[in-house]
Amino acid sequence: MYKFDQSKTPIYEALERYKAMRVVPFDVPGHKRGRGNSELTEFLGERCMSVDVNSMKPLDNLCHPVSVIKEAEELAADAFGAKHVFFMINGTTSAVQSMVLTACKRGEKIIMPRNVHRSAINALVISGAQPVYVNPGTNDELGIALGMSIKDVEKAILLNPDAKAVLVNNPTYYGICSPLKDIVELAHKHGMLALVDEAHGTHFYFNDNLPASAMSAGADMAAVSMHKTGGSLTQSSFLLINNDISQGYVRQIINLTQTTSGSYLLMSSLDISRKNLALNGQSIFDKVSQLAAYARDEINKIGGFYAYGRELINNDTVFDFDVTKLSVHTRSIGLAGIEVYDILRDDYDIQIEFGDIGNILAIISVGDKALAIERLISSMSEIKRLYSRDKAGMFDHEYINPLVAMTPQEAFYAPKISVPIEKSFGKICSEFVMCYPPGIPILAPGEYITKDILNYVAYAKEKGCFLTGTEDIYIERINVVSEYDSAGKSL
């Protein structure tokens, strides 16, 4: 049970009090409760604009919380079973980066799986920390990367006893969980911090039938994307800390890059959503699990598609599975995931989370109704009837083990030249290349560009994946580390 009264919402309540005071604003924002921008107010609504306000005494200050934000953080910490929770308004990206920047300084090592979100590797570019990649397990039939095997983590730890932290991506976008508790214990045994990118696992904290959460497994820090499955507004997130992590130091790290004008729309959405999850999470995610289970069964009955679930569990690289995720393998009907994703949107007015080379992912959440699930299932059945074809010649894997030549920071800031992507074979990449979503880099700065990777990029482009990351917005050229310095001297 919770220590505090979880029905309280200090930030929301403070905003209501503030509105009732009818204060005359001679501060920013300049739209002055919407009056100065009638078109925007018409669009977003007066209630919304009237609480888009600046930090002030009655509303506390996100950079240095002492009153209502502090109370809201304490309530959130209670709800998540953490020592402290930070309200993050620069996305879960900023929460992941704050974890990495807290754990390692320039030149220090961090152990992580390579199939992390770009935000984690971005943090390495910023901090100069050195990644020690653990190749995730892979499922050859589905072509997807799985979790990290405990043996592989142990090997990395023994080879790199000076590493400062282990970062775990749990669950993956597809819903796959690593042996979190074992990894945390192993890291702690070797004096390393255990950090968890839990962007897709907010709901783990509020339902007994879901996989273990980072805090319950004893991790030191976790980035939780409240807006993904927790119901808050896009870009709002929580950073959880535990054990001996210093709250003051983490706040300093956060304040290095965080805005000083924290949005009260985002903060109040976190506050209200935390209350809802704490009070109703069990029943909400029971219902979500049922809807997802129903959809999985029905999609599997269509044939051809494979909506996977707990049967993948192998007590190692698939230690557990998040049953709220509706991940479907599509290659067997001869369609890339991205093709099914495009057909669903263009022909059936259904927007799913993403499609990649061989899979699609639909997010089922508190907002879904049975009727909408039926539409998705029926559309999938139609797609199979109308579009299925021979699967010969299809690319069969999402994940390619990287060959690392230098750290992301070294490569990103190294002297570089731009070359046509098809002529980049054998060079060291100086930037990111990824499909978005899911935003897992195909290439990160400092990695060799191999034939396998070039084939993958060409295939992803052909199938219509949305590629991002390079300086060249058309992804036709790529920056590679130059073999010569600016004076023309060989490096």
């Binding site: 022909d347 039926e374 299932i377 029926s378 139609e382 109308l386």
Partner: protein, 281 residues
């Protein structure tokens, strides 16, 4: 005291009926159901405050949604009715001895039980031994059928609520799959007049045309529906609703109707120019 039922036919147009008595009001898992009695239209039912049927004018809708396809294909034996929990469509179908199986798929069992109690005029044949009632989502039901039905009648609410899934591409595609080679799909097709209804009509029409080689619209005049001008969609794999009408055969059946006749059948496919343009865009 005066009690009036009012429906907004557009944001700026209202349609009202003076009500004698509010007989029934309930909220089901899907919608709000109301049944009222009035002098002018008799007992009538609304779903989410939108008019569904009245005792006085329901014959027009049910005649047109059933007898038009039945006069085109007298061999119809297996019929699927989606929606239509009031029973009016089923009642008209039961008048054909040649029809052997009528599957009624209604998402809301409370609509059926309310109609059995308050609207026996339409619900009276729901217990016919050829009728099987399934309380489930029509989209789900039809997904599981393949080349089974001779006729599918979509007797649904408007596409803003529980009926939404019945105006989608996935629904029409699955209906196509569920019909046999002579299959016909008839659906209520909204009104061409007010903008919001006309938009749904256009979208539905465009989607149906992607699957069926023959698609035509026909019209009827229904006093209690928005603008009074209502359309039905006739989509089929082989049979043309006008060229293939079995006029003599249908007339030989001696089915007495208050609205439908075979002359009107042919004429109902002649559309006003603005409606033609609407679906040609």
């Amino acid at each position: 005291m005066e009690l009036w039922y009012t429906e907004e036919h557009s944001p700026d147009v209202r349609f009202s009926i003076r009500v004698d008595e509010h007989l029934y009001s309930a909220k089901s898992n899907f919608q709000r159901i109301d049944i009222m009695r009035s002098d002018e239209f008799g007992v009538f039912m609304t779903l989410d405050s939108l008019m569904m049927i009245t005792e006085k004018d329901e014959f027009i809708y049910h005649d047109m949604i059933v007898h038009v396809p039945m006069a085109v294909n007298p061999d119809v034996k297996k019929v699927l009715v989606i929606g239509g929990g009031d029973g009016g469509t089923v009642r008209e179908l039961t008048r054909y001895e040649s029809v052997l199986e009528i599957d009624l798929v209604e998402i809301d069992d409370m609509v059926v039980s309310a109609c059995l109690k308050y609207l026996p005029q339409t619900a009276g044949k729901l217990h016919d031994k050829r009728v099987n009632i399934f309380y489930e989502d029509g989209l789900k039901f039809v997904r599981k059928k393949e080349r089974y039905y001779d006729l599918i009648i979509v007797d649904s609410t408007d596409p803003f609520g529980p009926g939404e899934g019945l105006f989608t591409k996935e629904f029409y595609g699955n209906c196509y799959k569920a019909l046999n080679d002579n299959g016909i799909l008839v659906n209520q097709h909204e009104s061409p007049y007010y903008k919001v209804y006309a938009e749904s009509l256009k979208r539905a029409n465009k989607r149906i045309r992607q699957f069926f080689p023959i698609t035509k619209l026909y019209q009827a005049h229904i006093p209690t529906y928005p603008s009074g001008h209502w359309l039905f969609g006739f989509a089929s794999k082989k049979l043309d609703p006008v060229a293939d009408i079995k006029e003599d055969y249908w007339n030989s059946l001696g089915i007495k109707t208050k609205y439908y006749n075979t002359e009107l059948h042919k004429g109902s496919f002649a559309l006003p120019n603005y409606v033609k343009e609407l679906t040609e865009e």
